[in-house]
């Protein structure tokens, strides 16, 4: 425990800026993965244990597109669009067959696909770790804001994730499709009786969730090594985020992810040997005080 370091940082504007942006970066990537997880659970009532695989595929799709085209924008697009298509196929061909089954069966199917997807990546891209490399446009010195260090690429990352959060939030709250999705989450039988194709909605939600995880993977690809199985550790943290925020709540996912990011960022200064433990401790406190999570009321 190094509380002096933590207190020193809280008293220094430069340190506050650096550590806060550090927390935002960690949190925003986690949010993109966790929001897909929570969205799928909210509408489909399925705990998608294979969700981390979409993060992995997003990173690999982006790296491949970047290698062939040299375009970072196209790489992001391929990462997101590729995983959306993959999500749609996965839901229609496999997951849609186990909606009526018990939770154990759903978990087993998802876990089987975790292993299958990892092996598919191993067969296509090889077992060794890979690196996409930072696009030349972002190979620039970091910005200094109030003395704090902020890399330009991370500003883009935070911006994209925030934009995704706003579009998603407004889309679900205001648009007709959003209302249909919310209705399907609440009462799928009634939605179906009104002549709306619920299968299409389910497939669409799964594709959207996959796309968000794929976008997170694509955004992470320039700064994280790519390896088969890379989705698993992100998945665990995403589960923590959804448990803290409340399963099914988008706002909860955002707040939960940001809190985890900030805990990791400032915890590494004050509690360097207990940073991971702090995350779990916080989750336990939330579960004990609010078993449905911070925004659990929004669970459909």
């Amino acid at each position: 425990m190094d509380l002096d370091a933590l207190a020193g940082c809280l008293a220094s504007p430069a340190c506050l800026v650096t550590q806060t942006t550090s927390g935002l970066i960690i949190g925003m990537l986690l949010f993109l993965v966790a929001v897909g997880l929570t969205l799928i659970f909210g509408v489909l009532k399925v705990v998608n244990f294979s969700h981390g695989a979409f993060y992995m595929f997003g990173a690999y799709f982006a790296m491949t597109a970047y290698q062939f085209t040299g375009s970072f924008a196209l790489a992001m697009l391929c990462g997101a669009a590729g995983t959306a298509i993959l999500g749609l196929i996965f839901e229609r061909v496999f997951m849609s067959r186990v909606y009526g089954a018990d939770v154990l069966m759903q978990l087993l199917v998802c876990y089987a696909f975790v292993l299958i997807f990892d092996d598919v990546v191993r067969m296509i891209w090889g077992p060794e770790f890979k690196s996409m490399g930072m696009p030349s446009a972002f190979q620039v010195p970091p910005l200094f804001i109030v003395g704090g260090v902020v890399p330009p690429y991370y500003l883009l990352l935070i911006g994209v994730a925030l934009a995704a959060a706003v579009v998603l939030g407004l889309g679900l709250a205001r648009s007709r499709i959003g209302k249909v999705i919310r209705a399907a989450a609440h009462n799928p039988g009634m939605v179906s009786a009104l002549g709306i194709n619920t299968g299409l909605i389910y497939g669409g939600v799964f594709a959207l969730g996959g796309m968000l995880a794929g976008l997170a993977g694509a955004l992470a690809a320039p700064v994280r090594s790519l390896t088969p199985g890379m989705g698993f550790s992100v998945l665990i943290e995403s589960f923590i985020v959804t448990v803290i925020g409340g399963m099914g709540s988008i706002l909860g996912a955002l707040i939960g992810a940001l809190l985890i990011g900030l805990i990791r960022s400032f915890g590494s200064l004050g509690f360097p040997l207990f940073t991971e433990g702090l995350m779990y401790l916080f989750m336990v406190i939330v579960l004990v005080s609010r078993p449905t999570g911070l925004f659990g009321k929004e669970v459909a």
Partner: protein, 419 residues
């Protein structure tokens, strides 16, 4: 009328066959010793995050086995490798090793496991008495601790304490020259990371007593994001950083630290940087990272080493790794010991192997020696240098002095109560 014998199995032949069968069941090694081929079992990691290193171990072994077989094999017996995937799980490594000997009939073992699995395989070798060479475990105690000693187990992997002595001495020289007194460390939070970092700082402070460690970070193994670790180090404002992160963890760390311009703000010493697995993967490798040599074909700068690296690349379309040379050396030693013993028997090979010096492309002076007292490899090329972003990646390597290494190693063993 001429009586002809009918074809078939006579009573005498049947009795002889039954006798031979009974002897084989009761004494399987008799059948093995008479077999034309000799099976060598090899548990290693062929799946998961470190599969690349396990694969490179297998590749190096096969490269050398082909040469040995082309030259007539071990005392006239062709080598047949039986290689199994332990998935990096110690209990699986132990189970496979036992199976390789008891079921597959392997007479020798090459233990190409990381440290966690190597200790498990070591116990199997102790139990079965089978000849075994540990090729990848760098944890010093595996051979330094007399409690671990068994006459049938050897090690061709480099040792953590050797690396730390050379690294500490090299880093202290730079620390004194550049006035680097405030240091930070960032290493993976498991036995290898903790031990190696502890040994490095021990020798760094010994050679440069003014050095102070002002910050330490212990990210977990295979952690995807190091942002909070990078910013923590930036806040501490050290003059130098030591890390024994490796593989994908090291490349992630470099990519993430790069965009914070960390490498322009301090001298970085990353012992595992100079291995092709990391060097060829990082797209924006900063210039001037200090690293220990793992495997590079330009050090030692001999035609033999360059030829070996090129032959490996030509066969497998990728460069060898640190684990590759350690495994190739095992086959070279076994082949030479077998030749001298004129036998493929494990016990006879072990007897000759103790104290054996052979010509080897990976030797500091063109030779390596299997030290008799603790049955571990010495004399291999060991040094540190600074990286550049393209081949040869580490243009100049400052060689470690084996006389000093051995003296300090002896002191270290004494301090640990090993001697």
């Amino acid at each position: 009328m001429k009586r002809t014998r009918t074809t078939g199995v006579s009573r005498r032949s049947t009795l002889a066959l039954m006798g031979a069968g009974a002897a084989t069941i009761a004494m399987p090694w008799v059948a093995r010793a008479q077999a034309k081929t000799i099976k060598i079992g090899m548990p290693t990691i062929l799946s998961g995050r470190v599969a690349q290193l396990g694969t490179s171990s297998r590749n190096a072994v096969m490269l050398e086995v082909e040469k040995v077989n082309a030259a007539g094999g071990l005392a006239g017996r062709q080598i047949e490798m039986v290689i199994r995937d332990s998935k990096g799980q110690p209990q699986e490594a132990a189970r496979i090793s036992r199976e390789l000997v008891n079921t597959d009939g392997c007479e020798l073992l090459i233990d190409a496991e990381a440290s966690s699995g190597a200790f498990a395989v070591h116990e199997v070798a102790r139990d079965l008495g089978v000849f075994c060479i540990h090729t990848n475990s760098e944890t010093s105690s595996l051979t330094a601790d007399p409690k671990q000693h068994i006459p049938n187990a050897f090690r061709t992997a480099r040792q953590g304490v050797h690396d730390s002595i050379v690294g500490g001495s090299y880093a202290a020289g730079i620390a004194k020259a550049k006035g680097l007194k405030k240091w930070a460390t960032c290493s993976p939070d498991y036995a290898y990371g903790r031990d190696t970092t502890g040994e490095f700082t021990l020798y760094l402070k010994r050679f440069a007593p003014d050095v102070e460690i002002i910050s330490d970070s212990w990210p977990k193994l295979f952690q995807p994001d190091y942002t909070e670790v990078v910013t923590k180090i930036l806040q501490a404002k050290p003059q130098a950083l030591y890390s024994c992160l490796w593989g994908g963890d090291l490349t992630s760390y470099i990519d993430q630290a790069n965009i914070y311009a960390l490498f322009t703000q301090m001298e970085v010493f990353a012992v595992n940087m100079a291995d092709y697995t990391a060097l060829t993967v990082v797209k924006n490798l900063p210039k001037g990272i200090h690293s220990g040599n793992r495997y590079i074909k330009t050090y030692p700068g001999t035609p033999e080493n360059a030829a070996w690296g090129d032959a490996y690349k030509a066969k497998y379309n990728e460069y060898p790794t640190n684990w590759s040379w350690e495994n190739a050396t095992a086959i070279m030693l076994i082949a030479e010991a077998s030749k001298k013993a004129n036998s493929a028997d494990g016990k006879k090979i072990a007897e000759v192997l103790r104290g054996l010096t052979i010509k080897c492309p990976f030797g500091a002076d063109g030779t390596v020696t299997m030290r008799g007292e603790d049955q571990t490899l010495i004399g291999y090329a060991i040094g540190w240098g600074t990286t550049i972003p393209q081949e040869p990646y580490v243009p100049e390597v400052k060689a470690g002095d084996w006389k000093t290494i051995l003296e300090l190693e002896a002191e270290w063993k004494k301090s640990k109560g090993y001697t």
